[in-house]
């Protein structure tokens, strides 16, 4: 059974078509990284899944049931943008109010548990408005965890977090997935997403352009040879004549993306009077894969 199954989803805002027949499948127990540019339709899709906006067409099923069914909605925890908390109430009171809305019987114990999960026990008495951005995001997660959800929908939960906040968030989400909770998480911070996601969906212009597992990403990501020499300008010129794609990365390495071996490149440069200082093979990450895919879709891949 899939936690989320979306078929031919459309959504129009007046003249603007935000979703154009989006298809999506999120397996139970996965951490699904939902990726796309601003305005690609990620948030709209998430809001539809959460019941905040109505689709113009298509079908959304959660655990095999219609997404509007009250019984299935009880199994969903949500953090869309910022958590919906009353600023003048304490963190504890905000969570207790959400627990009351959910009809949780042993509310105090449950609230204590979710605060522990997001490591916010010490801040329970703080007014929500006095919490930092990172704390607010974690409170949002805690709120989403109330009622023991089977599906968590998180929109940009790591935005604005410091390194420690990101680590806590990463550990929290991985822990939840290990307990069987399905997590749909959108983020622009692809490096962080890559550390936790088991599945990916890449959306563009209101359509799903790629869905894959982390293993598929691993095999799809091309290897490259990165090298440094004393004469980088001439090296680039020489390699550029021989190979189809040579680029300089932000750390000052030249990258050769063609399917070749380091020893072949070393020999070629040696023949041309250049000694290689350092050479290694590596794989592109999610971020570069995503950028490549976007370029490919735009028809600008070199």
């Amino acid at each position: 059974m899939n936690a989320i199954e979306i078929k031919n989803l459309t959504k129009n805002f007046g003249e603007k078509q935000a979703l154009k027949g989006l298809e999506m499948t999120v397996p139970v127990g996965s951490i699904y990284g939902f990726i796309g540019e601003n305005g690609s339709g990620k948030s709209t899709t998430e809001k539809i899944i959460c019941g905040l906006i109505r689709p113009s067409g298509g079908a959304v099923k959660l655990f095999g049931k219609d997404y509007t069914d009250a019984d299935v909605r009880e199994k969903i925890g949500v953090l869309i943008e910022a958590p919906g908390c009353f600023p003048n109430y304490s963190v504890w009171n905000n969570l207790m109010l959400q627990a009351a809305n959910l009809g949780i019987e042993n509310a105090e114990e449950e609230v204590r548990k979710v605060l522990q999960t997001v490591r916010m026990e010490g801040a329970a008495g703080n007014k929500f408005k006095n919490c930092s951005l990172g704390m607010k995001q974690r409170i949002g997660i805690a709120m989403a965890l109330l009622g023991k959800p089977a599906l968590l929908v998180l929109d940009e939960p790591i935005n604005g977090l410091d390194a420690d906040g990101m680590r806590i968030m990463r550990e929290t989400l991985t822990g939840l997935a290990n307990q069987g909770c399905t997590v749909l998480v959108s983020s622009h911070i692809l490096g962080e997403l890559e550390k936790i996601a088991t599945h990916y969906g890449i959306v563009r212009g209101g359509k799903m352009i790629k869905e894959m597992t982390a293993e598929e990403l691993e095999t799809s990501c091309r290897t490259y040879v990165a090298l440094q020499t004393k004469d980088m300008a001439r090296t680039k010129m020489l390699l550029g004549c021989k190979y189809s794609r040579v680029e300089e990365d932000e750390r000052g390495y030249l990258r050769v993306y063609d399917n070749t071996k380091p020893e072949t490149i070393v020999a070629f440069l040696y023949e041309n009077g250049i000694l290689v200082n350092e050479i290694k093979t590596d794989k592109i990450g999610l971020e570069e894969y995503y950028i490549d895919l976007m370029r490919e879709k735009e028809g600008t891949v070199r």
């Binding site: 959460c50 909605r73 009880e74 109010l97 069987g180």
Partner: protein
């Protein structure tokens, strides 16, 4: 967290859903200064009307009291649907004008804080939301009616205005006004659902309807006819100092009927539009 065991789906009952939502709304009502401010305003209005107009001028001019009897600040002697002077208009019905502003602020905060977003991602149904807000705000307005009553009594005692009244009629009038709170609260909830985050328009529209200007206008054209009791303002006016139990029953029927209508309309609107 739900572990990898087989998922059990169980739709929460209406009672469970409403109980949770009412719990939150009443908690918020009692823990916000807004409620107490409006209780205070409701008490001050009759006190000002009675005391200010009942006092002698700074140079010893004789007082020109608006009311010759304290209970005229609660309700008119007979139902007057058109406008026949401020003394027949300014009574407990004014609670419904200020109540509208209170409801707008209360519900507006749901949208501003994102509470609505958090709520509708759960099992909460739109009808529960309408009902919970209507009941909570009706309670708040009924409380305002009570503080209005106390304000009138204290001011009347201080200015030594007459308290002569038929107690039965007075109780029916007060009860009639209080049961109208439900209809008014439902109207204001509906208006706030229409205008959502347009807070200013919500307040303006609540104020517009709360003054009863439409019914007053119709009353001026068609005359003082009891047909106008079918409207919220008409039934509120009908709860007067000559009221009997029949007036209370009519107020109750009109209030509940409009509350049902506005709840259905509000639910339909929420169901057929994007919530957030």
């Amino acid at each position: 967290m739900d572990t990898s065991r087989d998922l059990q789906f169980e739709a929460p009952s209406f009672t469970k859903r409403l109980k949770g939502m009412l719990g939150v709304d009443f908690y918020r009502l009692f823990h916000t200064p807004l409620f107490y401010i409006f209780l205070g305003i409701a008490a001050i209005i009759p006190a000002m009307l009675i005391a200010m107009t009942g006092m002698a001028g700074p140079n010893g001019e004789p007082a020109t009291p608006l009311f010759t009897n304290v209970w005229q600040a609660i309700a008119a002697n007979t139902p007057i649907y058109g406008f026949e002077g401020i003394e027949k208009y300014a009574n407990m019905n004014m609670v419904f004008i200020f109540g509208g502003i209170m409801v707008s602020v209360f519900i507006g905060h749901d949208y501003k804080s994102g509470y609505v977003k958090q709520l509708f991602t759960t099992h909460a149904k739109k009808q529960d939301y309408m009902l919970s807000k209507s009941l909570t705000c009706a309670f708040a307005m009924a409380c305002m009616c009570i503080t209005y009553l106390f304000g009138a009594i204290i001011a009347g005692a201080l200015t030594q205005t007459s308290f002569a009244v038929n107690v039965g009629n007075l109780l029916c009038a007060i009860l009639g006004k209080m049961v109208m709170s439900l209809g008014w609260a439902s109207l204001y909830t509906f208006l706030n659902v229409i205008f959502k985050r347009y807070f200013g328009i919500s307040i303006a529209s609540s104020f517009f309807f709360g003054t009863g200007i439409l019914v007053i206008g119709i009353g001026s054209i068609v005359g003082n006819t009891p047909i106008l009791n079918v409207f919220l303002y008409g039934a509120s006016v009908y709860a007067c100092l000559s009221s009997s139990l029949l007036n209370v029953v009519i107020c109750l029927v009109v209030s509940v009927a409009w509350a049902c209508a506005y709840n259905v309309l509000g639910t339909l609107l929420l169901e057929n539009s994007d919530v957030y």
